[in-house]
């Protein structure tokens, strides 16, 4: 199983803050996961293809592709605005 978290404006746009995908339900790579999620509808497609959407794998921001393993936590969020 992998856990997917969504934050801030992206969470509101997608109407979803968290979802889990069981073994077999998620692809082997991060980029493939984005493609899969993009298939969930127009809003999801916009979010997953936007170059503004940031990705964190296991709580570290990542830009390149990566292999997914059971227990991974993937997060999607808009540009940060703290400080």
């Amino acid at each position: 199983m992998i856990k997917i978290l969504i934050f801030a404006s992206l969470r509101e746009q997608l109407g979803c803050s968290q979802l889990s995908l069981d073994e077999g339900e998620y692809p082997s790579s991060l980029f493939a996961l984005k493609e899969k999620l993009a298939g969930k509808g127009d809003q999801w497609r916009a979010a997953m293809t936007s170059n503004r959407t940031l990705v964190a794998l296991n709580q570290t921001m990542i830009r390149q592709d990566a292999t997914l393993h059971p227990g991974d936590e993937v997060a999607f969020f808009p540009p940060v605005t703290g400080g």
Binding site: L5, A8, V80, T81, G82, G83
Partner: protein
């Protein structure tokens, strides 16, 4: 790098307010310094011309501390620092409230200034916090600023 072991670091993500005077005192006590630089960010009541009534700071629990630690680690690799203190508040805040505190001590002022500004520039662009403002026209997410991105990029 030997000096990294000698650096005292404290990072907090908290809803509670903090006292900059106390934080300052602890920085000063931490070691025999030379230069102490601090930055405090507070909620302004005007943003892009609208009256801001309040601010909600959402964050990504778990990643937040990790991201802040990575930023402080990088500062310690770049400069010889004695102590670093970083506090970031979360939750509901109001105009005038403190949001963030960065304190850095070093033997030399140039390093203290650079590290303090670097940490702020990276917090602004790499730590998972998001501001939602309350305005007379309703709530709205604060947009990330290009100027913050540019400020962070000059450290590369």
């Amino acid at each position: 790098m030997e000096h990294r072991n000698q650096t005292s670091t404290l990072i907090s993500v908290q809803q509670e307010d903090f006292d900059p005077g106390t934080e300052y005192q602890q920085l000063e006590n931490s070691m025999s310094v030379g230069a102490i630089t601090t930055f405090t960010g507070t909620v302004r009541n005007l943003n892009l011309g609208d009256q801001v009534g309040g601010l909600f700071l959402e964050h990504y629990p778990g990643m937040t501390e990790k991201a802040l630690q990575a930023i402080v680690d990088e500062a310690q690799q770049r400069w010889t620092l004695q102590a670093v203190r970083l506090i970031h508040r979360i939750g509901q805040l109001y105009p005038g409230d403190r949001i963030v505190f960065v304190g850095v001590t070093s033997a030399h002022r140039k390093e203290a200034f650079a590290a303090c500004e670097f940490i702020m520039d990276y917090v602004k662009t790499r730590a998972p916090f998001w501001k939602k403002e309350t305005t007379p026209d309703g709530d709205r997410w604060v947009d990330a600023r290009d100027s913050d991105q540019e400020a962070a990029e000059r450290w590369r």
